[in-house]
């Protein structure tokens, strides 16, 4: 089973490849985009995105609930299954969400 790791850190977009036909690529990019969205920022879809209240919790408590939150976030990309999720502190002190996903296409 192929697994992919995505993070909540922004990465530069390769605009030419967005027109590609690889569904796997697009699905992973969708999942990453969902991770980078903040809950409440999208009009008419306020539930989409990662709930920033997770970052207000103590680190250990946040680690315990992050997988549940990732499952909720990935409801908007049903082909993606969250395998693992955890939080890491950056050198700048920022908290980064790491997520390992697997992709299954229903035919």
């Amino acid at each position: 089973m192929a697994l992919y790791e995505i993070t909540s850190q922004p990465t530069p977009l390769d605009f030419e490849s967005t027109m590609g036909t690889d569904m796997l690529e697009r699905t992973i990019r969708n999942a990453k985009n969902l991770l980078m969205c903040r809950k409440g920022e999208i009009p008419f879809d306020r539930q989409r995105g990662l709930d920033q209240a997770v970052f207000d919790l103590p680190f250990e408590q946040a680690q315990q609930i992050i997988v549940r939150e990732l499952d909720r976030v990935m409801l908007w990309e049903p082909d993606v299954e969250v395998e693992e999720g955890w939080l890491e502190r950056d050198e700048d002190g920022e908290t980064v969400v790491h997520c390992i996903i697997s992709v299954t296409f229903e035919e």
Binding site: L3, I28, E81, G85, D90, T104
Partner: protein, 353 residues
């Protein structure tokens, strides 16, 4: 009240002697202010000693209450215990041992919602085959995981209403509720689990019909697809070989990826994949922000490649201009070609949910 009494007597005694001393000193020290200051100082001292005595008494009393041996222990609720558990637990939050569809099993001071007989099983369907004078089995269908556990709901352990909780669990099985099973921080299995049966048993009741405790035997079965989309190198569940793919771009406009496999762990596979990424990659799929910034700085190589791209694109546009002057309507035929190509390479529709 007893504590207040002690303080009064202790304090009074202290202040009386302090007063006498202050009078003595005031006779020596000239001025009313000096006398008042001395009195205030001694009175404050008396109050503080009184307060210290009060604190000592309170500590002694609390010590007696807690433990005969003098050690402070945190109590885990035993059956039949009604003593309130002491505070000062080092863990600020309750650790949830198991969670499914909002049903949480945990143990904390004063309340235990427990479970036992947790079983996790995986199975598949096979078909018998024969070949080369040998019988063997081949995989027919994957069945996924099955989880079973028995919830123990006891009023004596802090469960408010065992009857309501038990019937709710059984009702969830009747409705076929599904959700992920979480064990502490991570998922137990990476599959959506649906309750297929919920059996309430071993009910203990009072003579007037109030439930004291009961057990609920739950069975959950996997209700989502288990395997991934791309062909890995096999592996079953989380123990098999891990395949990691790292995407990268060399700045030429195309995104490429490298894969690596490892039987040790996913992190090991990821490290191997990173090693395969070419050195002139501008960014890759899981690199940190700082590395992206460094990679984004133009190097001499990238600048040269960019210059070449500009030259080739200008040449192409010049060639196109020349072509357009030669033929009557070349642009339209070219467009038609592109449309045909696009029709042939139809994109799969993206499902919007």
């Amino acid at each position: 009240m007893a504590i207040a009494k002690n303080a009064k007597t202790g304090g009074n005694k202290g202040t009386n002697t302090a007063l006498k001393q202050s009078v003595k000193t005031s006779s020596l020290v000239s001025g009313v202010a000096g006398a008042l200051a001395a009195f205030a100082a001694t009175a404050a001292k008396a109050v503080s000693t009184g307060a210290a005595a009060v604190a000592k008494a309170a500590a002694a009393q609390s010590k007696k209450k807690n433990n005969n041996t003098g050690k402070k222990t945190t109590t885990t609720a035993n059956a039949g215990s009604t003593a309130p558990a002491p505070a000062a637990s080092s863990n600020p939050g309750t650790t949830i041992l198991l969670e499914w569809c909002g049903v949480k099993f945990f143990a904390k001071a004063g309340q235990v919602v427990g479970f036992h007989d947790l079983t996790i099983s995986g199975s598949c369907e096979t078909e018998d085959k024969e070949g080369g004078g040998q019988k063997y089995v081949a995989l027919k269908n994957k069945k996924g995981f099955e989880i079973g556990f028995t919830a123990y709901l006891d009023k004596r352990m802090g469960v408010v209403d065992p009857r309501a909780d038990a019937l709710a669990l059984a009702g969830m099985a009747a409705e076929g509720k599904s959700g992920y099973v979480y064990c502490r921080e991570s998922k137990l299995v990476a599959q959506n689990m649906m309750a297929t049966s919920g059996k309430v048993k071993d009910i203990l009741m009072t003579p007037d019909g109030k439930w004291i405790c009961c057990q609920v035997e739950m069975t959950l079965k996997g209700c989502s697809k288990l395997e991934g989309a791309s062909s890995g190198d096999g592996g079953t569940g989380s123990n098999g070989p891990w395949t990691a793919r790292v995407y990268y771009s060399t700045g030429s406009g195309a995104m490429d990826s490298v894969t690596a496999t490892s039987t040790v762990s996913y992190q090991d596979a990821l490290a191997k994949a990173y090693k395969k990424v070419p050195s002139n990659a501008m960014w890759s799929g899981t690199k940190k922000q700082a590395e992206y910034q460094d990679a984004a700085k133009p190097t001499e190589q990238n600048l040269e490649a960019a210059r070449k791209r500009v030259q080739t694109s200008t040449q192409q546009s010049d060639n196109a201009k020349d072509k357009s002057t030669q033929t009557s309507v070349p642009g339209i035929t070219d467009l038609n070609k592109n449309v045909q190509q696009q029709k042939n390479n139809k994109l799969k529709p993206v499902r919007l949910r």
